[in-house]
């Protein structure tokens, strides 16, 4: 069976050019960057170069780039690190974020709130999954320490107007963090233009390796290391640097920036076809997220009275790899927090489907998907309604 991969928001295959850039750093140039000797120097030079490459891509200084084990760790460091730094500070104690965030943010925020490290207030999301500057403005106060709003949503693709949110936070001296893990593959992540103090990235969402990410930390941002040890990464993230993966991250990000235009131009029309044909060809279907302001490779739907997990199973059986907001491999489906946050009723929220395209997606694959989907939705609908 020809398998068709339409789940690039979950992860992407490693770009061969990235693999080539990484491969010398496993056994040939294997030194510990902290070492004094030539072995260490060569490894250190590699991560220095990688850091510079990332800094150019993000429009920041190299020493504002902290390599982590991935997007989730970057999110955790941003929240836990500011909580630890500000805990002793008088007054500023509120964390504002939304339930549409990735669990790396929302669950971490909940834990910090339970422990009393931050007081937590959920920002409103509208029916498109957006957190608007007005919503932040309504919630912010003199005691707000940190606002965390993702640049683009993983489940529904909605892009937030982060620079507008920054214009609310900045004058009040409130820190702004943004999870840009999904966004970095297709959107510019210019930290100056975004106006964020902290930004998270994960390598495997843009054809880099899994297990490596970045937290951008604007100079002067109060942050305490979540992981302590030898003073790597400016003392913010202890542990011997994962040299090959850091090199791979930088190369993948460099390529994503360099090829942004053609990549956008490749996926957008294919994505638009999927949205148009699905809404037309499947009854009781709706687009979730923002119809206009969304990631160019991202289509997400809700189907009424469909078990999203069963639909994914049927799709996989037919050779299509997709994802769902309610997907759970343990057969324990609940609508995701995001579906609830955008106000979808349960009979819609359980039937969510995410289709995310990539550089390898072809028009023929999109045609095959569009042709197969309506019957599979009906099948899962019929079984569910028995």
């Amino acid at each position: 069976m020809d398998r068709i991969y339409l789940d690039h928001a979950a992860t992407t295959p490693l770009d061969a050019r990235v693999l080539a850039a990484m491969s010398p750093y496993f056994s040939e140039i294997f030194g510990n960057p902290s070492s004094v000797h030539r072995y260490g120097q060569r490894a250190e030079a590699a991560i220095d170069a990688a850091r510079e490459t990332v800094a150019i891509a993000l429009n920041c200084q190299p020493d504002e780039v902290v390599f982590t084990s991935g997007g989730s760790e970057a999110d955790n460091l941003a929240l836990r690190g500011t909580a630890a730094a500000l805990a002793k500070g008088a007054g500023s104690k509120w964390l504002l974020t939304s339930k549409a965030e990735h669990p790396a943010i929302s669950r971490t925020a909940q834990q910090l709130a339970v422990r009393g490290d931050f007081a937590l207030e959920w920002l409103e999301t509208d029916e498109r999954g957006r957190v608007t500057a007005e919503a932040v403005e309504r919630a912010i106060c003199g005691e707000t320490a940190l606002v965390s709003v993702m640049l683009a949503n993983n489940e529904i693709g909605t892009i937030n107007a982060l620079s507008e949110i920054a214009r609310v936070c900045r004058p009040q001296g409130v820190l702004l963090h943004s999870d840009a893990v999904q966004a970095a593959a297709y959107l510019p992540v210019d930290v100056q233009a975004l106006g964020a103090d902290l930004v998270s990235l994960g390598g495997h969402k843009f054809y880099g390796p899994k297990g490596v990410g970045v937290l951008y930390v604007r100079k002067g941002t109060p942050l305490v290391a979540a992981q302590t040890g030898g003073g790597q990464e400016g003392g913010l993230r202890a542990g011997t640097e994962n040299v090959p993966y850091i090199v791979g991250f930088a190369e993948a990000l460099r390529l994503a920036v360099e090829e942004r235009e053609p990549r956008n131009a490749h996926v957008r029309p294919l994505r638009d076809r999927i949205i148009g044909e699905v809404l037309e060809g499947v009854p009781d279907a709706r687009l979730t997220g923002d119809p206009g302001s969304r990631l160019p490779n991202h289509a997400s739907f809700a189907f009424k009275d469909v078990d999203g997990n069963l639909l994914l199973t049927l799709l996989d059986g037919a050779g299509f790899a997709c994802s769902s907001g309610s997907a759970c491999k343990t057969g324990n489906p609940e609508p995701s927090e995001v579906m609830a946050a955008i106000g979808l009723a349960r009979e819609w929220g359980l039937g969510s489907l995410r289709v995310t395209l990539g550089m390898g997606t072809t028009p023929a694959q999109v045609d095959a998907f569009i042709q197969a989907l309506p019957a599979l939705v009906e099948k899962s609908r019929v079984i569910r309604q028995r």
Partner: protein, 350 residues
């Protein structure tokens, strides 16, 4: 697949036989807080099944059946006890969950057959119909719980392990390096999670069990029972009444909430009425016929005459010799040698 040795070996055998195999696992209902001790779908069992599927390089999907299982199987279990019966929820699970709900999912996935790790055999009769036979290993035979299968379902069914004795199954498992090879067999009802069913009823349906009188056949009151669901026909221990001779539970009368007890010689009954009868061949025999009948999963077969009633939807069974523990709620299953002819749920006896 359950993560256990039987369904794992079934998958191994099918793969060896050249089938294109997809693993499916049911996520069944558990009492809140007992998800980790449910017999058939703990996270551990799921990890085992996933590992077996990965080892065979076959797709593996978990099907959510929590709600339908609770509504059909668990509710049936509670309702049966409320009626004074001793229900057998495995029959309902096989009929409605495994061989209806799950089968539909399998067919929707494009499957031609659904295979399970049940110890039974499927045979093609010369007339084209499919027969259900007992397993090669009589100690493991599960034909009793699968008598509910119709021709429509049997044509879709495969039972690869019924052709082998259990020790052979274990050998195949260890030869295939299945990590399930040493796991113990599951026995109790999955949703009891290893607990006594009485505790389950106390927690989940306390209203169906209230104290009442224990009486003898002639109506004299001998004591008090704690709730009919807690007793079973033929039970001797735990009645809490002193008597010169051992007393046994003869009947549970839900209408009056009384437990009827008596001496051993009153226990035997030689006739039962079964309802909801399924005939494996698709239709009932024209008239009365002599056969062997099993009245519990672990009972011995007993010689009897079976008379189909009401077009075959019911059946009267007359045993050659009285049986001690004919129990309403359990199934009476009819056998002709190795073949299962059919069976139904016992509703009354005398």
């Amino acid at each position: 697949m359950s993560g256990g040795v039987d369904s794992s070996v079934a998958a191994v055998l099918l793969k060896q036989q050249g089938y294109e195999v997809t693993g499916m696992m049911l996520r069944l209902w558990s009492e809140p807080g007992k998800e980790n001790s449910n017999r058939c779908c703990t996270p551990d069992a799921m990890a085992q099944a996933r590992k077996v599927a990965a080892g065979l390089d076959i797709p593996f999907y978990v099907v959510d059946a929590k709600e339908i299982f609770r509504q059909t199987v668990v509710q049936f279990f509670i309702d049966g006890y409320a009626r004074g019966e001793t229900p057998n929820p495995c029959l309902v699970c096989n009929r409605h969950i495994r061989w209806e709900f799950l089968l539909e999912h399998a067919l929707a996935l494009g499957a031609d057959y659904m295979a399970t790790g049940h110890y039974v055999r499927r045979r093609q009769a010369p007339d084209g119909r499919v027969q259900l036979w007992k397993a090669v290993d009589p100690a493991k035979d599960q034909s009793y719980v699968l008598h509910v299968l119709t021709q429509e379902k049997l044509t879709r069914a495969l039972f690869p392990i019924g052709e082998y004795a259990k020790p052979e199954i274990r050998r195949i498992a260890s030869k295939a390096s299945l990590s399930t090879a040493a796991r113990p067999d599951s026995q109790d009802l999955c949703f009891l999670a290893g607990d006594d069913y009485r505790n389950f009823i106390q927690r989940n349906a306390p209203e169906i069990a209230s104290a009442g009188q224990i009486v003898s056949r002639d109506g004299s009151v001998l004591g008090e029972h704690q709730g009919l669901p807690y007793y079973t026909i033929g039970q001797r221990k735990g009645l809490g009444i002193s008597s010169p001779q051992p007393l046994y539970v003869l009947a549970k009368e839900a209408a009056s909430n009384t437990l009827v007890v008596g001496p051993l010689e009153e226990l035997g009954q030689s006739e039962l009425l079964a309802t909801n009868v399924n005939w494996i061949a698709g239709a009932a025999p024209a008239g009365p016929f002599r056969t062997q009948v099993k009245i519990r999963y672990s009972a011995r077969e007993a010689a009897a005459e079976v008379t189909p009633l009401e077009g075959g939807s019911r059946a009267r069974v007359r045993f050659d010799a009285p049986l001690r523990d004919i129990t309403p709620g359990q199934a009476a299953v009819f056998y002709n040698g190795e073949a299962v002819l059919g069976g139904g749920v016992i509703i009354s006896s005398r």
